[in-house]
Point group: C2
Chain length 400, copies 2
């Protein structure tokens, strides 16, 4: 199958491209290296040393004999995207090509506007290009479980049947995103539903949970194929932060009370879910939503799990509660459906001490590269100006 | 009260600015003349001859002795908007400053992207400027009843209490916008709710129905104060189109079966609703939604009402059903709540033959100015390329 992987140089995009190439698909990676630029901006880095996209593709060819094509450009640039779709006529587009960090979007007005513009316009351009040149193409788009927020009722998969004043309808599930980034994904979902309705496109929105893990069957074939590991306060997840903090002897910093519950999944399950969506495409006119996670955890529970794993290596990690830099409920009901991918055959990898220990070993291997200044939260939701990196100069007249 | 009226040179913005100035408020009109530019682009015009903003303000001062201040600039330009909010410190911002035509947003990719970028970025910039410089300011933002689409359950005012699997929560009402324009308003609503939650802003989202009528107590004081009357296929409403068609002897063109039901209100009620929202502001942290319409009609019913009004002037208008250029349900349930503004004291003007006849007289006064070529639908929802005006050259390679 001819597949474009948008954002195919990123944390999940690259392993997905490898995985689909290994399965025999004709894969083209599309990227503009925005993620690498944000490292430059923030003074951050991947703890795992990642190679250039060109080196990655050469290494993959040497190892597997398979070619991954590359197209470098910005989805917001229609003069790049439209001829790309017209000339490649993809059967599937897997769309990871968005700014994916909530804290990055909350740095200040400029970063908020950038995130929404980049994500919304890129996806709008894509919807038009598909409608014009490849209307039968299946769009597999990465959304986020964060679109739903933390409602006091069960979270369903994209839609909910509501009985109201004696009538009934199945409607898009109400969304309560908690950052400009999460809101951008809600905007995308709204736009995709409209495009499927008016043009008969086919789309699957993968509302993904928090992904953990670094290694996949393909990335471990050669060190040149490894993917990113982010642990900084802007792009790193809480779990990665805890693992690095344990290894370098810092306390594990839980934001607020730590009762924040979210859905999680193993990076290998991300690949499996994307593949299941591709092999079982949406119908023409259908905008399908899958909740893509395998287990629910709260932040305090994750910290305790890391504490336990660290003990296996003789590390006694402390847990410290910080004032929460985010605006979010710290104790709340959370029960989200995730049966649609299981029904398609997903065999989940559960978060176990084994996985935590293997990632902790990887962190220990690279512990000399850890930059402790990157770990603490850099972005406060309540402020309209946040320094984007430790070297930033506060804007003159920053009032909050 | 210090009030900014964003988009204060437009169809509703200008009468609102006049009305608030007449009530003794200190009014500043903010506009970038985008609406006048779109006329230039489309070859369209207001049937009523409108004056420049500068002439309008001079005339108003001559007639009322009151000053309306003017600030010319683009809300998407933060270097304009931020110092404006900082220097004027408004107590209320009334935000009409968006691209408001569904067909305009559906012309092609460029117009879709422009609409979403213009509306979403302008409002995001505004939210940041208010949070930074005037956090107690009440934002009164124009939304649209079109955010809800046509669900098979009653439409509530912004939020709905859902009972689901034995639990209950009040959540944002599910949205099903039918155009990129309507979607942009949904995006705005999502962003405003987030801003109120994280920064404690106060906002009222006025989900307005279709407005009819041209004259208000202030605009009729002098012909130089009149506001726009749009009848073209892009910016005109169905009712205005029918009135003009009757006057020039064309059949009244109903899109599809004509069972499309929407909420409507008189332009004088728009002014009253905005004023009620201003005088009864939202609380800090509250994102309040009012459904702003007074009556529901379907399109076929409107055509018949115009047919009846035309008969008073000896005109026998025919009704013709066109293939619907939009993608929408043509027969559907529609029952929307609108009690919150009534509870604040709104005294609605109902659509009666009297109103239709007075607008028809206005059209007859200007019938020599009518350009029949503008009246027919120019934009088809199913196409990704539509000529924006009768003189447009179709893009090379336009495939659908």
């Amino acid at each position: 199958m001819r597949i474009l992987v948008l954002g195919g140089d990123g944390y999940l995009g690259w392993p997905t491209a490898l995985h689909l190439s290994a399965r025999g698909h004709d894969v083209t990676v599309v990227d503009n290296f925005a993620r690498r630029n944000w490292d430059d901006e923030l003074g951050s880095h991947s703890l795992t040393p990642i190679r250039s996209l060109q080196e990655r593709v050469v290494a993959w060819h040497a190892i597997s004999g398979r070619s991954i094509h590359v197209a470098i450009g910005d989805l917001c640039d229609a003069t790049f995207l439209e001829p790309l779709i017209r000339s490649t006529l993809p059967e599937t587009v897997v769309h990871f090509g968005e700014q994916r960090s909530a804290p990055y979007s909350m740095i200040d007005r400029r970063h908020a506007v950038f995130t929404q513009q980049n994500n919304v316009v890129g996806t709008l351009n894509l919807l038009y290009a598909i409608a014009e040149h490849a209307p039968d193409c299946h769009l597999v788009k990465l959304g986020t479980m964060g679109e739903y927020g933390t409602p006091n009722i069960d979270i369903e998969e994209g839609y909910i049947t509501i009985e109201h004043r004696g009538r009934r309808d199945t409607l898009p599930y109400p969304k309560q995103p908690g950052s400009w980034y999460h809101a951008s994904k809600v905007h995308d979902s709204t736009n995709m539903l409209l495009a499927c309705r008016i043009w008969g496109l086919r789309a699957t929105d993968l509302n993904q949970g928090v992904v953990y893990g670094v290694e996949t069957p393909e990335t471990t074939l050669d060190e040149r194929l490894c993917t990113r590991f982010d642990y900084d306060g802007v792009f790193g997840t809480a779990l990665n932060r805890f693992l690095v903090q344990a290894v370098v002897g810092m306390p594990l910093t839980v934001y607020g009370r730590g009762g924040q519950t979210r859905g999680f999944l193993d990076i290998r399950d991300t690949l499996a879910c994307v593949e299941l969506a591709i092999l079982n495409p949406a119908e023409r006119g259908e905008m399908r939503v899958f909740n893509q996670f395998t287990e629910q955890f709260n932040v305090a529970g994750l910290a305790e799990a890391v504490q336990g794993a660290a003990r296996q290596f003789g590390i006694e990690a402390q847990i410290e509660h910080l004032p929460n830099p985010r605006v979010e409920r710290e104790e709340h009901y959370y029960q989200a459906a995730n049966t649609r991918l299981l029904d398609l055959g997903l065999q989940p990898h559960m978060l176990s001490d084994t996985l935590l220990e293997s990632v902790m070993q990887l962190v220990m291997r690279h512990r000399d590269l850890v930059r402790p200044a990157l770990i603490m939260p850099a972005v406060n939701w309540r402020k309209t100006h946040n320094p984007a990196s430790v070297s930033d100069i506060a804007p003159v007249g920053a009032s909050s």
